[in-house]
Amino acid sequence: MFQDIGEMLLLFVRTMRALPYLWVERRKVFDQLFEIGNASLLMACILSLFIGGVLALQTGPVMVERGLANFIGGIVGLSMCKELGPVMMSVLIAGRIGSAMAAEIGSMAVYQEIDALRTMNISPIRYLVLPRLVAISCALPMLVIFAILVGWIGGAMVCAFNKDIAITFSTYFNNLRDVVEFKDIINGMVKSMVFAGVIGVVSCHQGLQTIGGPRGIGRSVTKAVVNSIVVILLLDYFLTHLLFEIQK
């Protein structure tokens, strides 16, 4: 495990060192951005609409019972911004894009394509890892903004149409506007950027480490997704703590 962590840190440092070549690899970055956005936007919107809705559904009746119905907007708004938006989107992207990254790079490793790159003196880090890491680090925060907005709307719809809650859109959004600050959205963006880096590095590392045949590729994909999610959830606690301290 410690060897893997060391290798992943090294991979991250080497990828950062390859940043001056970003302009050369810009086409691949755009391809990856399109792949991540196109493959995930609809799913992200559906997922966050329901997360916002569930959040309102779970908290709404309890708050109404205690005469706090006007505060539901703030609770849903803040939860989506600071926690559920970044974490749930990162888990979704780890499953959809992290797995694809590990599978593609893993199959290139198994079928000697990475060896072929090396013989051409083309760094696999520059050619494969850099565009993916940059693309996911740009795409995930953007997806999170979508997710937050759609989650808010999901919560508002449940509040308006559920007879046990029954608060108006304006009450919901007025409270949301009072409670949620711009720094809360930045908080979610910072988290999602860190999680994007985790997904990119873990998935590319697993892909590059792939040995054996199709079974090896399958193993790498599973490890990439599981390890990414575990690291995201662990880091989430420490990041929340850190950002909380910074924002004090």
Binding site: M108, Q112, A116, R118, T119, M120, N121, Y127
Partner: protein, 259 residues
């Protein structure tokens, strides 16, 4: 050495006491070889004797446990050596990039290193593909999954040629190919040596190809070089193991038909 001075200049390769172990299995036991600039050097040997591992060491894909590989007297693992000399390899499987078209595969080296303009790259890609018998423009837009085994190998050769290499390594260049294409590949290896004087190292089982193209040959067995010399010297060897390898034929006890 600048690009201008290294252009079309073949390189000398020296292998000194090369040892390699994978876990408990010792694959190479102190291999020593000298490959002169501009020659075609063929390495033969039975399956599992360490030929491909040796080839991977020569191009820097594997690090030796002991010993060294010198390109023009400089250790291959040394700083900047792989940037200084243009080394190319034609993999046994072709190792084409499955997500790129044939044309993009062949032009990848030039594009990634930004060595030529886009028009020039297109011209070089067409020229190299024509050299290996793929003249049609529509071949360039095909994906590797649409190609036969033989075509993949020819594209891999074109990709190596696009690098204008000083040393080219071939891993079983005629395996999976029909006899007619095998002859074409053999002739292309010879033509390349005549035209650009490139140093070629060929690993093969194909005795006809080996004796047809080699300036010097080596026979490897269980990770040890058991012979190194000219094809004529190899033929003259009395060692029964060598003779058995050279003269083995497909003779079944009860063949259904004979040619």
């Amino acid at each position: 050495m600048s690009d201008a001075t290294t252009a079309r200049q073949s390189v000398q390769v020296q292998i000194r006491g090369l040892c390699k172990k994978f876990y408990d299995a010792e694959v190479l036991h102190g291999v020593d070889l000298n490959i002169e600039a501009g020659e075609i050097f063929v390495i033969m040997g039975p399956s599992g004797s360490g030929k491909s591992v040796l080839l991977k060491h020569i191009i820097g894909l594997e690090k030796p446990d002991k010993g060294e590989i010198l390109i023009e007297g400089e250790p291959i693992q040394g700083e900047g050596v792989l940037e200084k000399y243009r080394l190319a390899m034609v993999f046994q499987s072709g190792a084409l990039f499955n997500s790129l078209s044939v044309g993009d595969n062949v032009g990848l080296y030039l594009r990634e290193h930004q060595l030529k303009s886009e028009e020039e790259i297109e011209r070089i890609v067409a020229e190299k593909l024509e050299l290996v018998g793929l003249k049609d423009a529509e071949d360039r837009s095909k994906m590797p999954s649409e190609l036969s085994g033989g075509m993949k190998k020819r594209v891999a050769l074109a990709r190596a040629l696009a690098m204008d290499p000083q040393l080219i390594l071939y891993d079983e260049p005629t395996s999976e190919l029909d006899p007619v294409i095998s002859v074409t590949i053999g002739e292309e290896i010879l033509n390349l040596q005549k035209r650009v004087h490139v140093t070629s190292i060929v690993v093969t089982h194909d005795r006809d190809l080996a004796f047809g193209i080699a300036d010097h040959m080596a026979l490897i067995h269980d990770g040890r070089i058991v012979f190194a010399g000219t094809p004529a010297q190899l033929r003259a060897q009395k060692d029964p193991a060598i003779q058995e390898f050279l003269k083995a034929e497909m003779k079944l006890k009860n063949p259904k038909e004979t040619l």
